[in-house]
Each structure stands twice: as structure tokens, then as C-alpha cells.
């Protein structure tokens, strides 16, 4: 599913070169629930941005679903993100002007799904995260946990091959966090591939497999 080899990413901060990714190599298989864990600044988000086709590496190769990602144009990458990947961010990243259901509907609009089908799928997605009764609410009218659930609904509404979550529980208390993690477990049971990025060992342990990252290097893989 994900095939990463010798990936490098260097940031220039002033005169200093920061190796955010240093020959990182990893594989993730279909229907896996993998966590990527590492301390702050270790390169987790950098890795996630590249896996999510939001950014490109300086060197190395990345194949998603056997597609050589480096070869695609910006618009083609947008299409790949739209069809294959569902994002869940630490800061929710909902559009504040749009209601919960409109936020969830957005990726389907970009896929040009017909209206009737959109309505049906948005309803289903919101039901799966237990928010069917909050469909008309604006993000500001929802709690942090609820907002993150809307974001998850938005990520799964396109039925993506891969769900990418960057510290999805980072902004939530431990009880709400567990509820969110439980949703991921549920999604995993239903056959989704999930990559969960976190710096919290307790969260990471709940995945089938953990990939540890430190200073841009993959240090160990635990089962």
C-alpha cells in the first residue's frame, strides 16, 4: 500500500540545514492499523505530509498503491488526495463557515458526485461517527471531540484506501481521545488502512504495529 524508500527532506532554516527526514524507509500494508511515534520535532508531520501527497521529498522514492507519487503534477496529486486519502488533523481543520454536513460533503463535491448520492453518503458518514444529530451545526457550535469526529466523517466519506491522522487526539482530553481512538478501531475493523501519528505511547500501543522515528530516521518497528 505504502512503499517508502530512503526518503529525505531537508529544511533550510537560516543557514542551518535541518534533516527532517533522513533516509527513512518503511512499508505499510493494506488494512493495517499502524502508528508512527516519536518525540516532538522528530519528523512525524513531515513524513505524514509526504505520505499524504501534500508535500514532496527531496530524495528517495514513494509509491502509494503502486503509483510513483514524484511523477505527478499538482492537480493530479489533488485528485489522488481526494480519492485515496482521508486526512484527520490535530487542529481539526474544518471550514468555519460551513456546517458539519457541508464540511463532510466537500470532498464529494470535488469528486463531482451527484447531489442525491452526496446527501446519502454524508448522512452515513456522520452516523458512523455518531454525529447524525449535529449535522446542521457550525464547527464553533461543537466541542473539540465532536469537531474531530466531523473531520473523521469528512475523511471517510470518500471511502479512501488510506486514513492519515496526524495527532488526532493532540487537542483533546484523555476521555475524548479514547473515544476518537475507538472510532479508528471501528474503522479498522471495517477494513480501512489507518496511519496514526502520535507522540503518546499509550495511543501508539493501541495500533497493530508502531513505527518509531527519531531525528528523521526510522529507529525501530514494534508489533
Amino acid at each position: 500500500m505504502i512503499d517508502i524508500k530512503d526518503l529525505c527532506k531537508v529544511y533550510l532554516v537560516g543557514d542551518e540545514r535541518v534533516r527532517a527526514l533522513d533516509y527513512a524507509t518503511l512499508h505499510i500494508y493494506p488494512k493495517e492499523f499502524v502508528s508512527i511515534i516519536g518525540p516532538s520535532g522528530s519528523g512525524k508531520s513531515t513524513l505524514m505530509n509526504i505520505i499524504g501527497c501534500l508535500d514532496v521529498a527531496d530524495a528517495g522514492s514513494y509509491r502509494l498503491d503502486d503509483l510513483p507519487i514524484e511523477a505527478y503534477s499538482e492537480n493530479e496529486l489533488a485528485k489522488i488526495r481526494n480519492e485515496k486519502i482521508g486526512f484527520v488533523f490535530q487542529s481539526f481543520n474544518l471550514i468555519p463557515k460551513l456546517s458539519a454536513e457541508e464540511n463532510v460533503e466537500l470532498p464529494l463535491i470535488y469528486q463531482k458526485v451527484p447531489r442525491a448520492e452526496r446527501v446519502q453518503r454524508v448522512k452515513e458518514a456522520l452516523e458512523r461517527v455518531g454525529l447524525a444529530n449535529r449535522a446542521k451545526h457550525l464547527p464553533t457550535e461543537l466541542s473539540g471531540g465532536q469537531q474531530q469526529r466531523v473531520a473523521i466523517a469528512r475523511a471517510i466519506v470518500t471511502r479512501p484506501k488510506l486514513i492519515l491522522a496526524d495527532e488526532p487526539t493532540g487537542a483533546l482530553d484523555s476521555k475524548t481521545s479514547q473515544e476518537i481512538i475507538d472510532i479508528f478501531h471501528e474503522l479498522h475493523r471495517q477494513g480501512n488502512t489507518i496511519v496514526l501519528i502520535t507522540h503518546d505511547g499509550d495511543v501508539a500501543k493501541q495500533a497493530e504495529r508502531s513505527i518509531h522515528i527519531l531525528d528523521g530516521q526510522i529507529t525501530e518497528v514494534t508489533l
Binding site: 499538482e74 492537480n75 489533488a78
Partner: protein
């Protein structure tokens, strides 16, 4: 359609700002529509008045005689045609008139007896020019009342002499001033004298034997249209079938002058209004730049979940265009209201001002273009953002 709805929503999210932004467009549209409608309304009311004076003559101007200049004999041949009535050549020059110690600038027309009937003139004293005057190059002239009063001091001056550029002419008649005669209206207040055509030719350096302008009247019992048709045929025959060699029009001079003045006025006012519309467009661009910056993060989110460059471009372009078109609509409505108010205020003036469809259409097209032109830069800026940078903008 969906991007239209989205545009309406983001405009609706900040109504006060939207209205303030639109203000520039609204003012521009009102300026354009109201001013042009006013000019057109005034023009049509004036031209109506002019047309009611009647136009029963043709004006012919020869632009290129192709080596066959028109002279008196030619006119006589043409006058013999069935559908053609009287033909009178005319040319004019500005000379200095002198009489009894008074002097002044006078417009002198050189013509033939037919001029009197074609123009429908009236004499208050004496007689009009005769064929004999033309054949003998007589030193006679007919002057208008203004000239009589200013040079001689009284109207009853037949038989007196005036000098035009130093040459003595005997006054044989004085034209009456009439309010419903065009020539009278045109020349009232200025001094005018009428000489036999050859006499003016001798007097003035600019008037030649070749006739380049003449009036043509309708034949007895015929119409001006028939005369125009017949004259066009005759002129085409003479000038190698070249339509550009001459100009023939049944519009009278005043109408022509009016229409050229008003079309110039329309263009000028329209231009000023267009400038204010462009200023409005810059306002739109400015606010769109702010919007794009404010919504950088939203752009990042949209791109992350799959919006292409084109989608983002369309979204922001649509917003700019919708903003412009709303301003345009409000402006047109306001213009209509203003014209209604003007109509009630000037009801006594016998003028009615309508919303001019042409200019409304122009305003709509222009606003649309402004929306596109001034929306393109901010929209493109939004579309070009890198998803990763936009997503992390401002934290």
C-alpha cells in the same frame, strides 16, 4: 452553480464589507446609467422639437468629383429630372461687413433663387435674389434682420448699400425672422447676407466654380424619399458608381449638429463613469486580496481534501464577479429610482427620461469584465498556494 452558491455565502458572511466594497461599483453604474440616460432623454426631446419643424430637403456634399465637377449647368440638368425638385448650391464664408460707420463679422452665403423656396424663407422687405442677378454677377444682396439692425440701424433698408470686404453691394431684400424656420433659428442673432453664387465666388478666395454642397428639394407632389432615391442614382452615375464620392442626407444641419454633440457628450460622460467603475474594480480587487489572505487556511484545507487549482480559481473568481454583478444590479435599480425622481421633479418640462437599455447592457457587460479582470489576480494567487504552506498558515 455550486460555486455560485458558495460565493453568495461567503459574501453574505460579511455583509457590511460586501456593501462597502460594492459601493464603488454602485456609484460607477449609477453615474454611467443616469448620465447617459439623461443625455439621451434630453436629446430625444430636442430632436423631436427639431423634427417637428420638418425636414423637406436633402443635403448633398460632394467629397470626390472624380474629375467631373458639378456646376450650374449640371444642377439645371438634374432639376429637369422627374422626381427631383429644386436644387440650390450654397457655400458660405465669413467676411467683414461695413455700412454707415458700423462694421462687424458677417456670414455670407452664395446661392441661387431656388434656395428661397427650398428653405421656405420669408421676406419682410424687398425681394429675393433673381436668376438675372446670378447670370449678371450683380452686386446685390439679401440680408437678415439682425444684419439690418446692426449695420444700418433699421429693417426698412432696401436700396441702401453695404460693403463686404470692401466691395459695395446693394441691399435688395431683408429676410424675416421666424421661429419655426430652421435657417432663421440657426442664424438668428448672427448677421447673415445672401449673394448670387458667382458674386460670392468673385469675392471670396475659398469659394470656387465647382459646386460641392447643395440643397435638393422634393419634386412637386413628390416626397423627399423619392427625391433622395433619384438623386442617389444621378450621383452614382456621375461618380463611377462610387458611394463614397458623395454624401446625401435628409437630416438637417441642426439635427446633425445635435447628434454629434450629444454622442460626444455620451462618450465623454460614459468615459468618466467608466473610470469610476474601474476605481470600483480596484476596490473589489483590494478586498479580494484581503479575503484570500484571510482564508489561506481554508484554501489549504480545500486543497488537502482534493480541490484542484481550477476549483479554487473558480471559487474566488466567482466571488469577485458575483460581488461586481450585485453592485451592478443595485446600481441599475438605484439609477431607475433616480430617473423616476427626476421625472417627477421635471414633469412640467415636457421631458421624460427612461432607463436606456443600451447603457444598462453596457453597464452589465462592463461590470462583468471588471469582476473577471480584477478578480483574476487574487483568485490566481489563491489557486497557486502550496497546500502544505496554506494549511500551516498562521499556526
Amino acid at each position: 452553480m455550486l460555486s455560485f452558491k458558495m460565493a453568495l455565502r461567503s459574501i453574505g458572511a460579511n455583509k457590511m464589507r460586501a456593501v462597502l466594497t460594492m459601493l464603488g461599483i454602485i456609484i460607477g453604474v449609477v453615474a454611467l446609467v443616469v448620465l447617459v440616460s439623461l443625455v439621451n432623454g434630453a436629446t430625444s426631446s430636442v430632436t423631436d422639437t427639431i423634427s417637428s419643424l420638418g425636414s423637406s430637403l436633402l443635403t448633398v456634399t460632394v467629397e470626390d468629383d472624380k474629375g467631373y465637377p458639378v456646376d450650374m449647368e449640371t444642377l439645371n440638368e438634374w432639376m429637369a429630372e422627374d422626381k427631383v425638385g429644386l436644387i440650390a448650391p450654397y457655400s458660405a464664408d465669413s467676411l467683414t461687413a461695413y455700412a454707415d460707420g458700423e462694421s462687424g463679422s458677417i456670414t455670407v452665403y452664395g446661392t441661387t433663387p431656388a434656395y428661397y423656396d427650398i428653405q421656405g424663407l420669408q421676406l419682410s422687405m424687398g425681394r429675393w435674389l433673381k436668376t438675372a442677378d446670378v447670370e449678371n454677377n450683380s452686386y446685390v444682396c439679401v440680408i437678415n434682420e439682425t444684419a439690418a439692425e446692426e449695420l444700418i440701424g433699421y429693417v426698412d433698408c432696401v436700396g441702401q448699400a453695404i460693403s463686404l470686404d470692401g466691395v459695395k453691394y446693394t441691399i435688395v431684400g431683408v429676410l424675416a425672422e421666424e421661429e419655426n424656420n430652421l435657417t432663421s433659428v440657426l442664424t438668428s442673432g448672427t448677421m447673415a447676407a445672401y449673394l448670387p453664387y458667382p458674386s460670392l465666388q468673385r469675392l471670396s478666395g475659398t469659394v470656387t466654380r465647382e459646386l460641392t454642397s447643395f440643397y435638393v428639394g422634393a419634386a412637386q407632389g413628390g416626397t423627399v424619399e423619392e427625391a433622395e432615391e433619384a438623386m442617389t442614382q444621378l450621383l452614382l452615375e456621375r461618380f463611377d458608381q462610387d458611394e463614397d464620392a458623395f454624401e446625401i442626407s435628409s437630416q438637417n444641419a441642426l439635427e446633425e449638429a445635435m447628434s454629434s454633440i450629444t454622442s460626444m457628450l455620451s462618450v465623454m460622460l460614459g468615459g468618466i463613469a467608466a473610470i469610476s467603475l474601474i476605481v470600483g474594480g480596484i476596490g473589489i480587487m483590494n478586498i479580494m486580496m484581503v479575503t484570500v489572505t484571510e482564508r489561506t487556511r481554508e484554501i489549504g484545507i480545500r486543497k488537502a481534501i482534493g480541490a484542484s487549482r481550477g476549483t479554487i480559481l473558480t471559487q474566488f473568481l466567482m466571488e469577485a464577479v458575483v460581488l461586481c454583478m450585485m453592485g451592478c444590479g443595485l446600481g441599475i435599480f438605484l439609477s431607475w429610482a433616480i430617473l423616476q425622481i427626476i421625472n417627477t421633479v421635471v414633469a412640467s418640462l415636457d421631458m421624460v427620461f427612461y432607463l436606456d437599455t443600451g447603457v444598462v447592457l453596457l453597464a452589465v457587460v462592463f461590470c462583468f469584465l471588471i469582476g473577471v479582470v480584477f478578480g483574476l489576480y487574487p483568485a490566481n494567487k489563491a489557486a497557486k498556494m502550496k497546500p502544505i504552506d496554506a494549511l500551516h498558515y498562521g499556526g
